[in-house]
């Protein structure tokens, strides 16, 4: 959409004010995320840009909060080791990875079933399988808290993993179903007629084609689990710290700039994940012959 050379002054004003408005909206979307990056290197114990910091004075810049994040902090001369953040990181990855694997396996198989032309009650089933994504987290957390405490799953890693798997599956179902639209079922027939059994057909023919969808669904499931705090708070025990839970605690009790360091790391992680998913999506579209306009 470019302005033609014969545009009137009014049209020009309209066009440029539209562009200005749009850039302001993009700024509104993106600025808050990047504002925390420099601040995590500030020596100040508050979330603010001090004058010294802005003037680039060396004393005002520091890596002390990063040191504290990885577990080394010094008060005066004594070194105190608090490894809550590292414990949280380990737990987050542990829960996230297992939940992702489970969600990806369950979701992919279900998406294969849902994409078959003979699937009965498809809309209802789809609505049920997507519902964990739609129901507010606080309601999910309350329900799981009541039910899991009845069957002894609260305060266990198993309970958290099951909960996060349930929350992650809708993303896998959606992305894999999307990849399967336009899937040429003749490929399956060809494979079977050439003597491959079901498993071989799945791993050698179907899987390579839907892999981009499976991986991006898995990444969505992972980030969902990795970012989830409400269920962890109600279903998990006090000792079961994850990164978001520790951030939550940090925001509610001691507003420590370590949060900003962790936030910076998480932004880096999300940029990495976003890049991966975008590359996969384009590859998938190319593979399936969908042209980009």
């Amino acid at each position: 959409m470019a302005l033609p050379s014969y545009a009137t002054t009014g049209q020009k004003i309209g066009y440029y004010s539209f562009l200005t408005y749009c850039s302001l909206v993009f700024f509104f979307l993106i600025a808050p995320i990047f504002i925390i990056l420099p601040l995590s290197f500030s020596a100040s114990p508050f979330f603010e840009f001090t004058r010294e910091f802005m003037n680039l004075e060396p004393e005002a810049w520091s890596l002390r909060w990063y040191r504290q994040m990885v577990g080394i902090s010094s008060i005066g001369d004594t070194t105190v080791v608090t490894d809550k953040w590292m414990l949280g990181t380990r737990n987050s990855f542990f829960i996230g990875i297992i939940a992702t694997l489970l969600a990806t396996a369950l979701g992919t198989v279900a998406a294969l079933g849902l994409s078959r032309p003979h699937m009965p009650f498809k809309p209802v089933l789809m609505a049920i399988l997507i519902s964990p994504m739609i129901v507010p987290l606080i309601i999910t957390a309350a329900g799981m808290f009541f039910f899991y405490s009845k069957i002894g799953l609260t305060h266990t890693y198993l309970g958290l993993i099951l909960a996060h798997t349930a929350l992650g599956t809708p993303f896998v179902v959606i992305t894999v179903t999307a990849t399967l639209t336009g899937f040429d079922t003749n490929l399956i027939r060809a494979s079977q007629s050439l003597g491959a059994d079901t498993m071989r057909t799945f791993f050698k023919v179907i899987m390579p084609l839907i892999l981009p969808g499976v991986i991006s669904g898995g990444l969505f499931a992972f980030i969902t689990s990795f970012d989830e705090v409400v269920v962890v708070m109600f279903v998990g025990s006090v000792e079961q710290i994850t990164i978001p839970k520790q951030m939550w605690a940090g925001l509610r009790q001691e507003t420590s700039p370590v949060i900003l360091c962790m936030a910076t790391c998480l932004v880096a992680l999300s940029i990495a994940l976003l890049t991966t998913v975008e590359m996969l999506r384009r590859r998938s579209e190319r593979l399936r012959g969908i042209k980009q306009r």
Binding site: C22, F47, G113, P120, S131, P132, I138, V173, L251, L274
Partner: protein, 417 residues
């Protein structure tokens, strides 16, 4: 070939083709269903049953009947006029005296919801009853505490005779049962939930409106720009989508607090004085600002995918036929983009209405929404019946919206970037 004319078509096994095809179809259906079954069972056990269990809790009122079962048996015979008979007092006396402290505590909490004062009365009486050896129990109980002689206390028990109650739902909309089981309004100072419901809807509608206001133009820009530019700008929309909710909330705290970036810039520009910086944090305004930024991608993605399908030739044709750009946009482009608008608005509203984390962190006192009250009753007051009732109402609203979304957009068309 004569066969085919006279009778149904047969397969080589001699079975009619129709039957054979149906059988094959059925096998295919079962196969497809078997693939979905593991996930369906998983979601049922880990997600749907827990939510059903919570819904059951919102009407469950058996807790107390298990602590004072005999009392409730004899209580039913009472005419609810004057004080109950000696028999009721006697059963109450023994059941309270012999009960465990833990279960009395739970029951008395429930009794306190019907009439405040029950909790302290039971606690005090359980201690004093140890000294009473023999009857008449009615007089001696009233002697230990005159509240035992107050018919209001006894009448309040009438609400709990049934194993189920609608009481929690009434509480969730600022109503309650009086001692004769009529529905009445809560006392003036205890009416908080209707206000909260209104506030929740207000905030959600405003957030949806602002998302549309900000999202529509940029979706239009993204849909009409050449691919190489729009892909780059799309990153700006998708990055917040992928960034942790807590990170974004922290970022807004940095921006909006009293000594935050926004206020600093305003002071530097000389627009406001240093001593009266704006209070942008910990109120409803903060909730609306932050939620708008967080939910904006959910508006842009469906809008973009619909706008992408609107051919630019429509607009050109309209302009060619003499329409002014504004008129052409209003008459041609807007009606075509309505499916995207409805999808985006519904999605944003559905997500906004159940929000909990952001209002909790940036909302302060006046930004609390229904989700926050659910959490409050879940972990602080432990009034789980009310917690479940609030949740159930919220869930009902959600279900209607979700159903509408599914009808209008189709849930399988949901966009994730």
């Amino acid at each position: 070939m004569n066969q085919t004319v006279s009778g149904p078509i047969l397969t080589s096994d001699g079975i009619p083709l129709k039957v054979s095809l149906k059988k094959a179809e059925r096998i295919n259906k079962i196969r497809a269903f078997l693939l979905v079954l593991p996930l369906l069972a998983f979601i049922l056990i880990t997600f749907l049953i827990p939510i059903g269990d919570m819904l059951a809790r919102s009407i469950d009122d058996r807790q107390i009947n298990t602590v004072f079962p005999k009392t409730f048996e004899v209580y039913k015979k009472w005419d609810r006029q004057d004080l109950p008979s000696e028999e009721v007092y006697k059963t109450m006396f023994f059941e309270l005296k012999d009960s465990e402290g833990y279960s009395v505590g739970k029951a008395s909490t429930r009794m306190n919801y019907s009439k405040s004062g029950w909790k302290s009365l039971l606690k005090k009486s359980k201690r004093k009853f140890k000294k009473i050896e023999e009857g008449p129990y009615k007089e001696k109980m009233i002697a230990t505490d005159k509240r035992w002689g107050d018919p209001e206390y006894w009448k309040a028990l009438g609400q709990m005779v049934d194993p189920t109650t609608m009481g929690y739902y009434l509480n969730a909309v600022d109503l309650k049962y009086d001692s004769n089981k009529n529905v009445v309004q809560q006392k003036e100072n205890r009416r908080i939930y209707n206000k909260t419901w209104i506030k929740t809807f207000k905030v959600s509608i405003l957030v949806t409106f602002f998302c549309l206001l900000l999202g529509y133009p940029i979706s239009y820009l993204l849909a009409t720009l050449p691919m190489k530019y729009s892909n780059l700008l799309m990153i700006c929309v998708l990055l917040p989508f992928w960034t942790s909710l807590l990170v974004r909330t922290v970022a807004w705290m940095v921006m909006l607090q009293q000594k935050g970036v926004f206020n600093n810039l305003m002071v530097m520009a000389g627009l406001i004085a240093d001593e009266n910086r704006w209070q942008l944090m910990y109120n409803q305004t903060a909730v609306i600002i932050v939620m708008t930024q967080i939910l904006l991608p959910f508006m842009v993605l469906p809008l973009y995918s619909v706008m992408k399908t609107i051919s630019p030739t429509y607009m050109r044709a309209a302009l060619n036929l003499g329409a002014s750009p504004i008129h052409a946009f209003y008459k041609i482009y807007m009606p075509n983009s309505i499916p995207g608008v409805s999808a985006g608005c519904l999605l944003v509203f559905i997500i906004a209405i159940g929000y909990y984390i952001t209002p909790e962190l940036v909302g302060g006192k006046d930004g609390q929404m229904v989700g926050n009250w659910i959490a409050y009753h879940l972990k602080t007051t432990l009034n789980w019946g009310l917690c479940a009732a609030l949740g159930a109402i919220l869930l009902a609203v959600m279900t209607v919206l979700y159903w509408a979304y599914n009808k209008i957009v189709g849930i399988e068309n949901i966009k994730l970037g």
